[in-house]
């Protein structure tokens, strides 16, 4: 996955930012789907996994900003919190994907995804408690907001994102992380 050229990474990041605007619109056609299934998270996580941390970070910052400017979703009042949260996801998926190499694509993807989702949730909770809502943010609100309400969204992310990465590799739209020759040599 590290063989992607800079131009290709830039264009993929642009497409992921555009999907941050388009996917919530598609999901809002399904009643209540936006808040439960977290559609804006999917392109950011994918961008971090495929293009690396600087691009994931940019996608996490620019995606919600552009969506808010063009469609007013998320509302401006909620925008800074969402930008911080998504930027952390994009950053940590990229960092973990670079550090974790188990010779198994699915293992790498799940370790990076779960790690980034956990670290991102903890750090955005800390940011909310210290910066965005000091004094009025509780542990219960954090657990409910980041784990209970969006449980279907988390399940969908964990099921969908590895599937999409695998499908993209199969379609030769991104380079294989572990080409067969490399695995044979290792064996």
């Amino acid at each position: 996955m590290m063989k992607l050229s800079l131009v290709k990474r830039s264009v993929i990041t642009a497409v992921c930012i555009a999907l941050c605007v388009v996917l919530p619109m598609a999901f809002h056609a399904v009643q209540n789907a936006g808040s439960i299934f977290l559609p804006m998270h999917i392109p950011v996580l994918l961008c971090g996994l495929i293009c690396g941390w600087p691009f994931g970070l940019l996608c996490g910052l620019a995606g919600p900003l552009l969506s808010s400017l063009l469609t007013s979703m998320p509302p401006m009042a909620y925008l800074p919190v969402m930008m911080v949260e998504l930027a952390l996801y994009g950053l940590f998926t990229g960092v973990l994907m670079r550090l974790v190499r188990t010779k198994n694509l699915y293992a790498d993807l799940y370790i990076s995804l779960t790690g980034a989702l956990l670290i991102g949730r903890v750090l955005s909770g800390v940011a909310r408690a210290l910066i965005f809502a000091p004094g009025s943010y509780s542990m219960a609100a954090w657990a409910a907001g980041y784990f209970v309400t969006c449980l279907p969204g988390l399940a969908i992310q964990l099921a969908l994102i590895p599937t999409i990465v695998f499908a993209l590799e199969k379609a030769h739209l991104i380079p294989q992380r572990y080409p067969k020759e490399e695995l044979n040599e290792a064996a």
Binding site: S10, V15, L19, V22, A29, L70, S72, L168
Partner: protein
């Protein structure tokens, strides 16, 4: 979804169309800052008057700019009701069970709804009168100082420009895929949460595959034409801002300053 004109550019000959994109973008952010400062009836009167004047000057079809507001009417009602009934500050006018209607809550609800509506109109006017390539160029110029901090400003402007241009294409593609999946029996409107969740992967996976295919085509075309990153790119020399652009910027600064004064001097 095809009815959503979010971010759509309408070519035209109006005063706003003729302004430099850099001036429009800076003016937009100044007006946005003014809207965020607004917290009183006179301030909102100024903000709505400014938004109305811009809409009239842009000569954009009002229906297209205001359509997103109409589609979000339920969101506005909900925001107002939630604030009016659950706001904890101020004296209660009426209370029952967990509900607590207060004047401060109603003012807060009206505040949030008005701000969102104003931002939507302003962003509609900006994207309606400025071609995506002009926005990219303006972002490029405005991000230039970031290069001093080592941030790849030109790359970021290029990525944002491509993203803005991809939105209408991907919207159409998503709509086509959605209709195709409905024809194949997908049940997006089912009442069961899990059935709805199960209907989403057949929508999302093809959207990503199609979007990445388009990205692959574009990146290959860019590389084939010799693009190797923004650092090596040459530009047509940007023309300086004209008198009309400076005048527009001064007006926006004036409106923003008026909002700050109203914020300090006038209570709701």
């Amino acid at each position: 979804m095809s009815a959503l004109p979010a971010g759509q550019f309408f070519p035209g000959q109006s005063v706003l169309h003729a302004l430099d994109a850099r001036a429009k973008l800076l003016g937009f952010f100044l007006l946005l800052a003014g809207v965020v400062c607004a917290a009183s009836l006179p301030a909102y009167a100024v903000a709505f008057a400014a938004a109305g004047a811009l809409l009239a000057l842009s000569r954009l079809p009002a229906r297209a700019v205001l359509a997103p507001l109409k589609r979000l009417w339920l969101f506005f009602v909900l925001i107002f009701a939630m604030n009016a009934l659950f706001y904890e500050r101020g004296d209660a006018l009426w209370s029952w069970w967990i509900f607590r209607l207060s004047k401060a809550g109603m003012a807060q609800g009206a505040n949030v709804a008005a701000r969102v509506a104003l931002m939507m109109v302003l962003s509609g006017v900006l994207t309606g009168t400025t071609a995506p390539m002009e926005i990219t160029g303006a972002l490029n110029a405005l991000f230039k100082p970031l290069a001093l901090l080592g941030i790849p400003a030109q790359e970021i402007a290029m990525i944002l420009g491509i993203a803005i241009q991809f939105i209408p294409t991907l919207l159409e593609e998503t709509d086509t895929i959605r209709k195709a999946q409905i024809a194949r029996g997908a049940r997006f409107e089912s009442r069961s949460l899990w059935r709805r969740a199960a209907s989403l992967p057949p929508l999302v996976v093809p959207i990503f595959l199609s979007a990445f295919r388009r990205a692959d085509d574009l990146a290959t075309a860019m590389e084939a034409r010799g693009y190797r990153g923004a650092a090596n790119r040459t530009h047509r020399r940007a023309r300086p801002l004209r008198r009309a652009d400076w005048f527009a910027l001064a007006l926006c600064t004036g409106v923003c300053a008026l909002h700050v004064v109203l914020r300090v001097c006038v209570a709701f």
